[in-house]
Amino acid sequence: MVAARETFYDVIKRQGITRRSFLKFCSLTAVSLGLGPLAANDIANALETKPRMPVIWMHGLECTCCSESFIRSAHPLVKDAVLSMISLDYDDTIMAAAGHQAEAILEETRVKYKGQYVLAVEGNAPLNEGGMFCIDGGKPFVEKLNSMADDCMAIIAWGTCASWGCVQAAKPNPTRAVPIDKVITNKPIIKVPGCPPIAEVMTGVVTFITTFGKLPELDRQGRPKMFYSQRIHDKCYRRPHFDAGQFVEEWDDEGARKGYCLYKMGCKGPTSYNACSTVRWNGGISFPIQSGHGCFACTEDGFWDRGSTYDHLTTIKQFGIEKNADQIGMAAAGVAGLTLAAHAAVTAAKRLTRKGDGAAQDNHRG
């Protein structure tokens, strides 16, 4: 807390980083954020003059996979993000303080940095039974979230839990877990979906906010455009096989060995927005498709309730039986076809009998 008003540059200078390395870092960050070389000066200036931003990191109903991902960030290293760039004042999972001491920090930050701190929320708040399904510090998490959100500058919704609801909000959602934007409606919220989000995406977002003191440009769904404006499919290195019409049909077939497109194996790349196919994971080593498995769509709303991971077509449950659009459509077309055939048969039968009657009458008359 003592160093909370230090600037980023003050901190890294103390750690023995040279000015030359500092400026290199600024250029690299500017380029990785897609800002161009001129922005390096702005970043350097901001990091030298602006006090470090206080961040409160809270954990609701979640699995901590976002934190696990975050601590593996390579560019920038998470130690730089946590120890230098921001002033991570509270994170109950990794902080040394505990109990009343830890909880006191929340109140202190709320009063001291009113309207200046960023609230990073990992996980979401279950609302059922008055929020009793997630108790944090002796109180329902939703209360803690509401009180800390009142005085924050902005909220980062880490992961699919905080952004969309994720597994705890999957049907039938017994705890009535809801994403953060359904609880807090009066603060800017940046959604960083993913289960978990990519480490470099997380630190990239933190870097942007601390550097410019504002949220990055968001898309229609509240996600930062710099990381979520393209689908996995758009930058997938297997895309040429998709365009060529070369697909994996079985997990152990020739196509799988040759690295063909996983579209027919239910890869959700064409409907998933994330940076996996460019940034990749674990320091740029790999990502699901590169390891031979289709994309899960873990960044997307309600991906747990869209049927099998290995089917391209969504399961539709409204019909009582699990069917996909094709099965329902074919059944409807089949019923329509049979009805028409029956109708045609009745018509033919009627006409034949009428013709018979007509002929009989003619004979009678004749």
Binding site: A244, Q246, R306, L313, I328, A332
Partner: protein, 243 residues
Amino acid sequence: MLDKMPRAVTTRIGNDAARRDRSVERDVVYLYEEPLRLWHWVNAAAILVLGITGYVIGTGIPSMPGEANDNFLFGYLRFAHFFAGYVLAIGFLLRIYLALVGNSHARQIFYVPIWRRCFWSALWHAVRWYAFLAAEPKKHVGHNPLAQLAMFFMFTLTTTFMIVTGFALYAQGSGNDSWQDELFGWVFAIWPNSQDVHTWHRLGMWVIVCFALLHIYAAVWEDIMSRRSIISSIISGEREFRD
């Protein structure tokens, strides 16, 4: 509405025939103008291409042999789908223009006159006619009420839905700053997971398939049973009453 009243129809048939100096031995009404007929067939072709390519794009094709750079089949299939989609969408816009400037028959697929009593009575009659319960069909010049219902709900509304969802899905490829996203990106505010939009787009295709089945069957059946021309009407533009 002239269609709904047999007496008015007869007068109109007479007037029309006299004005155009056509044979009066057989009653003929000119109802489908050239641009409308042209649209019908271009639209039918576009739907055929869209249906087939769309089905294949959704399910995938058997793998192509050889190197990826020697093949572009899936790319071509998608191109055909997008091309036919543009034809359908532009055609639909022109069709709306045609409804505004054309005759009353050009407007029939865009509304259902539920506020007219004669619509309901004629609808009931049409249901009975198709169920073999009515001995004689009504001599509608345009679509019968049942056809109008199918046209409006299964074709006009579904096609609008397919155009909107289709361009929204197209915007996923063309990007955040494309005009497709500007105009149709709001679809993802309704269904944030675009996989749902894919599912609805595919269900829409099956509605259109059902419509095509009904439409073709009803056209052939009516042509035979109702003693008025149906199939040749969308080629010549004339409705002929055979007795």
